[in-house]
Amino acid sequence: MGILTVKGVNKRFGGLQALGDVNLDVAENTCHAIIGPNGAGKSTLLNVLVGKLIPDSGSVVFDGQSVLGRQPHEINQMGISRVFQTPEIFADLTVMENMLIPCFAKRDGAFRMHAIQSTRHEGDMIEKAESMLDEVGMLDKRDMTASSMSRGDKRRLEMAMCLVQDPRLLLLDEPTAGMARADTENTIELLKTIRRERGITMAIIEHDMNVVFSLAERITVLAQGTPLVEDTPDNIKGHPKVREAYLGEAQV
């Protein structure tokens, strides 16, 4: 059994069956991609995993504990971090402050009145944030206001913010959507490095097949809210059902 187990999850929006009996098993220390055509229910599934949506039935178990009914911040404290389709960062704050926030959240929990302590005396946290920035190659940008950076750098910062918390599971929602070719390549490289060096379990939702096939070790194909197949990338490539549901679209 994997670190994340989804069993028989159903979610209806009015007449639309967004998720129908979804089963998913993400093994520890793998990169698991969830692909599928538009409207397949990928984003709905992700929102269930992070606590934004509550499914009508089924179970989601992370590391032996149910995540259903928990708030997003509680799920994060359990060890799940999420990277958004459009980078969600603290745009008005400096890069360093952006990094310190997840550090404090990890150390102090969901809330702490550390109102009199001085931030510059938080040596451990500053060091941790700096070494993470160094790892993603952004140490020279530490004093920049986050909003003034390029899209690629914002994405990089967001990932660094997630990684500095040492998550057990990193969820990525189309991390290269709307990116230029070069930025996409950079992001793939960054993710590969993270996978290799940190051994973090990843679940990735992605449209770009190039990204999926260069990262994923397992792939689940969703169509109309239901998993079609789950297999290795090589087998998925040649799978007739997948061609029909997904790749076939483009060929017709």
Partner: protein, 411 residues
């Protein structure tokens, strides 16, 4: 806002400069210590600074160094500093802060009526009761954000005002409010001869003043003012500490991106509620000090225009900056008390050097902007600041300073 974005985090690499407290004092950076010293000097020397013109001169009406007004400067400074912790950092615009100030005032006057005329317990009570009241209002109002939050706080404040005005008359004294009377007999140390008790600090009355005459200048040092001044210094110091703390970063994160906060394992709502309660306690302190200086309170103190005033002070001075609220409060209180006192006769004196016809024209042009028309001047200034200086007077000061600096390097 730019200069406040925590330079401290960015300068001290712990390995290079461990515990980089050097250069500053009281745990502040050098820059913040300088700011603290400036405010300290302003507060301590205010009787001199605000009375630059000799008595009896034509300019003497611009002197603001009398106790009553100086007290108002610091009390509203405290009020605005607290408001800025909520609005400047989290971006939540409360339109009901006057209610917390009013609650503080009522708490303080009851403490003086029932317990002791010493101002310290009164002020402590004001802070505690206002804090508790803010917690309730905040808990409910923070279910919404943006404009709906503002409307909820406004509704609460207007309800408080209406209640104080009518239904709660036994507690609030209704329309006439509450004063210390000669029938009051506080538990400790009330007057025994049937006179009206006065607010004091261990026997020293708030009204006590020492007057210093130098030539034709007259400087007044008032005990009440200095007590309020010390409270301002403490309030300002705590505000610097909050701005520079991890908690302060969290409050700015609330303003920036609550969604990211949630997905980073944090609860933006609890941080906002804390900021709300802290700013309510600042308002309570201000309300308590008002009663300590002038032992009476009426419901109009909670009216919505009073809530609006602190918003304008903060924005005019510079929301999210440390000095902004103090500058804004001082500026508005100065205008309210000094500009509003200029009348037509004074204008005629000023423009007397002009030929008769031109004098009348000038007087009628300027007249709408002074005296009772000071609100017009304030409104225009406020609009200009919001449009051209979104960072308030602080940003204006910074721009001027930068210009000088650039000229220096050019030359």
């Amino acid at each position: 806002m730019t200069d406040q974005t925590n330079p401290s985090v960015t300068t001290a690499t712990p390995t290079a400069r461990p515990r980089a407290a050097s250069g500053g004092m009281l745990g502040l950076t050098k820059k913040d210590s300088t700011l603290m010293l400036i405010v300290f000097a302003l507060v301590m020397l205010a009787p001199f600074i605000l009375n630059p013109f000799p008595e009896g001169s034509a300019m003497a009406q611009f002197n603001a160094g009398y106790p009553d007004l100086m007290q108002r400067f610091v009390i509203f400074g405290i009020f605005a500093i607290g408001f800025n912790i909520l609005f400047g950092l989290t971006g939540y615009l409360s339109f009901g802060h006057a209610a917390f100030l009013g609650v503080g005032s009522y708490a303080a006057i009851w403490s003086m009526k029932l317990v002791t005329l010493n101002v310290i317990p009164g002020i402590v009570m004001a802070i505690v009761i206002a804090g508790a009241f803010t917690l309730v209002v905040g808990f409910i109002s923070l279910r919404r954000s943006g404009i709906y939050f503002s409307i909820l706080t406004l509704a609460f404040a207007q309800m408080s005002y209406a209640l104080a005005y009518s239904v709660l008359t036994p507690i609030t004294g209704g329309e006439t409010g509450l004063q210390i009377k000669n029938t009051d007999s506080p538990l400790f140390g009330g007057p025994t001869d049937g006179s009206i008790g006065r607010a004091n600090l261990f026997g020293a009355e708030m009204g006590n003043s020492y007057e210093l005459a130098v030539g034709s200048w007259l400087f007044t040092f008032n005990l009440g003012y200095y007590i309020a001044g010390v409270a301002l210094l403490v309030a300002f110091y705590l505000s610097i500490r909050i701005f520079r703390s991890p908690f302060g970063i969290m409050l700015r994160a609330v303003k920036s991106n609550q969604q990211r906060m949630n997905y980073t394992g944090l609860t933006p709502k609890r941080y906002t509620l804390s900021a709300f309660v802290i700013s309510g306690m600042y308002a309570g302190l201000a309300g308590g000090l008002m009663v300590a200086m002038d032992t009476q309170v009426g419901p109009e103190r909670m009216f919505w225009t009073a809530s609006g005033e602190v918003v304008i002070m903060t924005i005019l001075g510079g929301a999210g900056t440390l000095m902004g609220p103090i500058l804004g409060a001082g500026f508005i209180k100065y205008m309210e008390n000094i500009v509003s006192k200029i009348n037509k006769d004074i204008l005629h004196e000023w423009f007397a050097f002009l030929p008769d016809g031109a004098e009348d024209v000038m007087v009628s042009i300027v007249y709408p902007f002074i005296g009772k028309g000071w609100h017009l001047t304030l409104g225009i200034l406020f609009m200009l600041v919001v449009i051209f200086l979104p960072g308030g007077l602080v940003e204006g000061g910074q721009r001027i300073a930068n210009k000088f600096r650039r000229n220096k390097t050019d030359g």
